[in-house]
């Protein structure tokens, strides 16, 4: 990552920056003046020229057929993939059976006790309530299925991630090789990961677990490497002077010093794994995600909510407990960590489990279920009847969606598709170069060109138009809220828990309410994307504004600047870097959800992936998946500020 070296730079004074920007633009203009006429005469028309595309559907289709025909006979499958798949199935099954054997009372008790030991009484209560709520909603078995899948996927991700991180942390060459890959994986939408694993493993739990591991391991690797590299030099020197071997130093000093990062990595991995385990229901993961998926397919908002609430509860509990564990480890007090207390804990848990067995508390009792689907659906019906359309003055939600589609999305899409293809590349190059280096610009242009070569130029521009529209809305709302939060402490205090909860929710869950409100189409997909990306944008904006040097503000105030002037002329310019970061995060997060929007009629690339999965036409899906990867790369490079973010939320 070329930009990483730039972290130490102070923002250059505007004069020089302007000069440099002008110079970059001049170079591009010259290049455009030479190349554009050639391109325009050689390949006229706005769309990507067909002469420059490569049709991959034929070979991909053949590959997919070959795999299906040879899956039960070829040695590669029998002796390698077969074993991988087998291990996954056995492991998930073992965990699932263990969870069922402990029973609902046992699982709840164990969860609460662990939470109590690592995070305190309040979180223990929260954990118990969350588990009981899953049962009450009639989702106990799906919750256990998801949990079983999660446990296996998280363990595998942590092991893989830690090994990769260890390699990158100890060897500079590994670090240079791995970092761009990990950075890129961080910005890719989850959907793009599904197809390749389905191609090899078919629909089912093994594919779901592996997709989850691929998605969730990178943050662990990044943070492990970061932790190892960030260790205090003086401590290391001191340890070295004691004559320790490299391995001793690693085990006794570097790893313990990095434990805070390691735990943060575990936390990140868990959150991303949950997000993915739910999305993977599209490829047969089962569990809670499958219930949401089934409910979305029949626009049954009530049932979707009944499965969505356990997902949210699980996410919040897992995030808080692992987060608290990390803080406690990092902090000074390490009480309550003695093996003896853990022994008591184990005994207590075993007692509850045995009691559960004896008292026949294994399956969640039938009578204890709360049917929320019906009342919710009645509320949704009422909403569609009264808020959907023809509401006086404001218009209904469906009207808004229709207006958003025909006044914003359609012109934007048509405009993008009307632009000649080479001018799109030029705009991408200009944006990426102005904000980054020539390397980021080159990557962005190549990614965009790859989309054209793959022959999915038009649908990609359609997706791009949805992303742009959603990002615009996100930034307007996000900046406004962020500024308000930065200026009022009370508002920020009110906002913080809301943002916390929203940032831990898996992407899938956001589709449920928008379908209820806006029906189906591109507008609801964009709406879900806005809601998903907002918390990150608000948070980064508010933080950026608050970190502005108080001395600069003070001097502005003493010069008699009004608070509006302070904001415009001091705070916003000084927080420029944070604002750029917010834009980058916004774009990456919006793209992830716009793609998933293919499930609710978002069309374009997301739809092609869904179509590929639905029709077993993996060629179509894989091409679209590759285009999504390219689009994600391009958008990231075009908006990439010269400072790399720390991972906060699954993108």
């Amino acid at each position: 990552m070329a930009t990483l070296t730039a972290t130490a730079h102070k923002p250059a004074p505007p004069g020089i920056l302007a000069n440099r920007a002008v110079r970059k633009l001049l170079v591009l203009a010259v290049a455009a003046a030479v190349l554009a006429p050639v391109a325009a005469t050689q390949w006229p028309g706005a769309a990507w020229p067909t002469a420059l595309t490569v049709d991959l559907s034929e070979p991909l289709g053949r590959a997919s057929d070959w795999i299906i025909d040879n899956r039960d006979s070829h040695p590669l499958f029998l002796y390698f993939f077969g074993h991988v798949s087998n291990v996954v199935v056995l492991a998930v099954r073992a965990v699932y059976l263990a969870l069922l054997a402990v029973g609902w009372a046992g699982v709840t008790a164990v969860g609460a006790l662990v939470a109590w030991r690592v995070a305190g009484v309040r979180l223990a209560l929260g954990t118990a309530v969350a588990f009981l709520a899953c049962g009450l909603l009639g989702m106990w078995v799906p919750t256990m299925q998801t949990l079983a899948l999660m446990v296996v996927a998280v363990l595998a991700s942590v092991v893989v991630g830690a090994l990769l991180g260890l390699a990158a942390g100890l060897s500079d060459r590994m670090d240079r090789a791995l970092r761009p890959v990990l950075d890129t994986m961080q910005v890719l939408p989850a959907f793009a990961y599904l197809l390749p694993v389905v191609l090899v493993f078919g629909i089912g739990v093994p594919a779901a677990v592996l997709a989850t591991v691929v998605y969730a391991a990178p943050p662990m690797a990044r943070l492990t490497s970061l932790g190892l590299r960030g260790a205090d030099k003086e401590v290391l020197e001191a340890v070295e002077s004691l004559g320790t071997t490299a391995r001793q130093r690693l085990l006794t000093a570097r790893i313990p010093l990095a434990r805070k990062e390691l735990l943060l990595g575990v936390n990140q991995t868990i959150m991303m794994a949950l997000s993915m385990a739910v999305i993977a229901s599209v490829i047969g993961a089962g569990g809670l995600g499958d219930r949401v998926y089934q409910a979305l397919a029949s626009v049954d908002v009530g049932a979707a909510l009944a499965a969505g609430i356990p997902i949210v509860l699980l996410a919040v509990v897992l995030d808080r407990v692992t987060g608290a564990a990390g803080e406690r480890l990092g902090g000074p007090g390490e009480a309550g960590k003695s093996p003896l207390t853990w022994l008591y804990l184990l005994l207590a848990a075993a007692a509850v489990a045995v009691a559960g067995r004896l008292g026949d508390f294994l399956d969640w009792p039938d009578g204890w279920e709360l049917n929320i689907a019906e009342p919710v659906n009645r509320a949704v019906d009422w909403m569609t009847a009264h808020l959907y359309s023809d509401v006086p003055v404001v218009g209904g939600t469906a009207d808004w969606a229709a207006h958003f589609t025909s006044w914003v999305l359609n012109p934007l899409r048509d405009g993008l598709q009307w632009l000649p293809w080479w001018s799109v590349l030029l705009v991408v190059a200009a944006l990426a170069w102005l904000i980054g280096t020539w390397r980021t610009a080159l990557t962005a242009v190549l990614a965009m060109a790859a989309i054209g070569v793959l022959g999915v130029w038009d649908p990609s521009l359609d997706t791009l138009s949805q992303v742009l529209a959603a990002v615009a809305v996100t930034l307007v709302i996000g900046f406004a809220t962020g500024i308000a939060a930065a200026r009022s402490d009370r508002f920020e205090r009110l906002l913080r828990p809301v943002l916390d909860v929203f940032q831990t929710m898996p992407q899938f869950v956001y589709l449920i309410p928008v379908v209820a409100l806006f029906g189906v189409g591109r507008a609801p997909a964009a709406a879900a994307a806005v809601v998903y990306a907002l918390p990150a944008v608000v948070r980064i904006t508010a933080q950026g504004l608050r970190q502005v040097d108080p001395a600069a503000l003070e001097s502005a105030r003493s010069l008699g600047a009004s608070s509006g002037q302070q904001l415009r002329q001091v705070q916003l310019p000084l927080a420029r870097r944070s604002l750029l970061l917010a834009v980058n995060q916004g774009v990456v997060l919006v793209l992830a959800v716009v793609i998933i929007g293919g499930l609710v009629g978002g069309g374009a690339l997301g739809y092609q992936v869904v179509f590929g999965l639905a029709q077993g036409d993996l060629a179509a899906g894989l091409v679209a998946g590759a285009a999504i990867v390219c689009l994600g790369l391009m958008l990231d490079r075009v908006t990439q500020p010269t400072e790399r973010r720390t991972p906060k939320k699954g993108a």
Binding site: G82, V89, G202, G284, A297, S298, V299, G519, G603, G616
Partner: protein, 318 residues
């Protein structure tokens, strides 16, 4: 580096120990959630349309309450469901609308799937307009006149052309090829799911707006929103052989059941029951309406039907 090598070796050794060193055929690996705690489990594939949900709801109810099985249902789209069925991750598909390519591959060549007989329901796919629209403009029911009405059927999503609404991308459809080969001034718009399509059609019907939609019978919505089929060039055997060149109507399909071969042989009374499962279009529509219109949960709808039709399902159990 040495640490990594050792751990890699250890990992590989553990893997080998865990699995035995022989071959592992992943097409024979069932779902990890199947047969938990010694319960006998049947896994049924639920497709996303309500008629299929009705089949599965009734089969599930009887399997659970009369035969003592635990039933898992998995939502898989039509084509991947064949793959899942072949691998034994699903035990049965209860309603298939005709997939000749998959049938050839799995039933004839690989013999991993066994035909399970007729469902008893006959399906037909076609293009439909609402009857109120057909009454105003009787000539719309012939495809030759469709271009005349393209302007009336325009929407925000279809751009300058008329809208032909399709439902889920996973359903059997030749509509894109049909529009192209019949030179129609229409754009196929996928609602994304059947439920979305139904919502849309109900909205249109409420405002008495015209629409043209891919639709099929038996379907419970036709009882709520009366619809008239648009005549396409008649279907002849083999006219839909090349998907890109199709220019004829959809066939009339007797819907089929399919079982995983292993399950068909060793599935005991459950396999026997699913083979005999056969009911009429009315029966299916009755359960579908309970689920989709009265918003009953599938098991409640199934219970209602089962309570009133003992004579029908007794035959499936014997």
């Amino acid at each position: 580096m040495r640490l990594r090598t050792t751990s890699a070796v250890a990992g590989a050794a553990a893997l080998a120990l865990l699995t035995g060193c022989g071959a592992a055929d992943m097409t024979k690996q069932a779902s990890p959630f199947a047969n938990a705690q010694g319960a006998r489990t049947v896994t049924l594939s639920v497709q996303s349309w309500v008629g299929a949900q009705a089949n599965v709801a009734v089969a599930q109810y009887l399997l659970e309450h009369e035969l003592g099985y635990r039933v898992d249902t998995v939502q898989v789209d039509e084509v991947p469901a064949w793959d899942a069925l072949s691998q034994g991750r699903v035990d049965a598909i209860l309603e298939d609308w005709g997939h000749p390519e998959q049938e050839q591959r799995y039933v004839e060549d690989k013999k991993t799937i066994t035909a399970g007989g007729d469902l008893g329901v006959t399906g037909h796919i076609g293009w439909y307009v609402p009857t109120y629209f057909a009454k105003q403009h009787p000539d719309v029911t012939d495809w030759k006149n469709l271009n005349k009405y393209a302007d009336l059927l325009r929407t925000a999503e279809s751009g300058g052309k008329g809208q032909l609404m399709d439902g889920s991308p996973s359903y059997v459809t030749n509509d894109k090829a049909l529009v192209k080969n019949l030179d129609l001034d229409y754009q196929v718009v996928f609602a994304g799911s059947e439920a979305a399509q139904i919502t849309q059609m109900k909205q249109f019907a409420k405002e008495k707006k015209p629409f043209l939609s891919y639709w099929y019978t038996p379907q419970w919505l036709t009882e709520k929103v009366p619809m008239t089929e648009v005549k396409l060039p008649p279907y002849k055997e083999g006219c839909d052989a090349d998907p890109a060149e199709v220019a004829c109507a959809y066939p009339v399909t007797p819907l089929q059941k399919y079982l995983n071969t292993g399950f068909a042989e060793n599935g005991g009374s459950a396999a026997e029951f699913l083979r005999k499962f056969k009911w009429t279009t009315q029966d299916q529509n009755q359960v579908s309406l309970l689920i989709a219109e009265q918003k009953l949960r599938p098991e409640e709808a199934a219970k209602k039907w089962v309570d009133g039709h003992e004579s029908v399902w007794k035959g499936w159990l014997s």
